[in-house]
Symmetry: C2
Subunit: 204 residues, 2 copies
Amino acid sequence: MRTLVPFDAAEPKTRLEPLLRARERETFARTMLADVLAAVRAAGGEPLVVATAAVECDAPVAVDERPLSEAVNDRLEPTTAVVMADLALATPRTLRAFFGASGDVVIAPGLGGGTNALVVRDPDFRTDFHGTSYLDHLRVAHDRGLSVRECDATRLAVDVDVPADLADVLLRAEGDAPSWLRKVGVRLDRSSGRATAVRPGGRQ
Amino acid sequence: MRTLVPFDAAEPKTRLEPLLRARERETFARTMLADVLAAVRAAGGEPLVVATAAVECDAPVAVDERPLSEAVNDRLEPTTAVVMADLALATPRTLRAFFGASGDVVIAPGLGGGTNALVVRDPDFRTDFHGTSYLDHLRVAHDRGLSVRECDATRLAVDVDVPADLADVLLRAEGDAPSWLRKVGVRLDRSSGRATAVRPGGRQ
C-alpha cells in the first residue's frame, strides 16, 4: 500500500529537550523514521516520506513546506495510508493488520486525541491534523457518509513526543531506537508505579 | 470467564491530586471501577473485586489486605482473568477479544511497563505486579515454558494514573467516567500537540 510518512525536519521532538540535546533529537528523529520505514516496507507498504526539508533516508522523499494537512491531502489518491514518522513502537505485524483493516477510512488514534495513522480508501476524505484530529477525522468521515474503522493498537497510539514515551520505546520497540537511546545513556527508571526514562549522567 | 478486579480502596489515584481533591479521587476511582465491572460483565466475564478494604459496588468483593500479587496468586485457579479497576477506556468489545485470545497466558501491557490485564490458563503461572511487571510476567511465562500472547490494545494500556490520562478518558471512554469528570469541571485542553486535561476553575 502506498504510504505517506510525514516528517518534520526542522527542530524535531523539542519536548524531549529534558533528556536530549538538539543534535541528538535530530538523530533520534531520523532513527525513528528509519525504523518506521523498515516496518512499513516489511508490512507490504511502499513509503513516500513527505518532509518539510530534505532528509536522507531509505525511501523517496517529497519536500513540501506547506502545513501537514495540505501536504498530505494533495497526495491522497485512493488507496493511501499515512503513518507518522515517530511511531517507534510500530511493528510489521501491527502495520500489516492496520493496512488490512476494512473501512473507507481506518484510523489509529494517538494518545491525547491525535491521529497517528490512517488508511484512506475514499477520495472524499480530507485530513485535518490540527488539534484533536482523531475527533475531527471521525466527524469528517461521518459527515461524508464514509465507513470508519478504529484501529486500537498501543504500538500505533504512542507517538514518541515526551520523555515518558521513551520508557515505552525502551520497553517494547523492536527497531534501532531503543539501542540508540541506551547508547546515549537513557535508562528506565522503575522506581515509581509507571516506568519513566531518565538519563543518569544528564545531557552531555 | 472468572475475572479478578483488584481495587486499592485506600487513598486511590493520588497522582491525580493536581486536578482532583481526595474525596473526588475516591469517587472517581469508584466510578471507574463501576465502568470496568459493567464492561467485564458485558464481555461475558464474572467479576470478583479484590479490594484492600470494603467497597460498595455491583459485584462480589473479597477484602484482602496483602500485597496485590499475593492476593491475586491465591485466587488464580485456571482459567482466571485479572483486569485492573482503572481501565476506564476498556469496552466490552475489547475485553471480549482479550478474553478470547489464545495462549497459556495473555498479557495486556500498560503504558510504562505495567501489566493492566491478564488471562491465566496454566496453574504454574504466578503474578508479580511490582515494578515493570510486563517484562517480569514475560520472563515468568518463558521460564515455565508457557505460551504467551500479547494483547496490544490502547483501551487496555491506559490505566488512569496521571492527569494526562484524563484526556484520553474524556476523548474515548464509553462509561460514566468522562461525564463524571465533566461534571466536576475537568476539560480537554487542545492548545498543545497532545491534548491534556485541565480544570479551569481549579480544585474546589
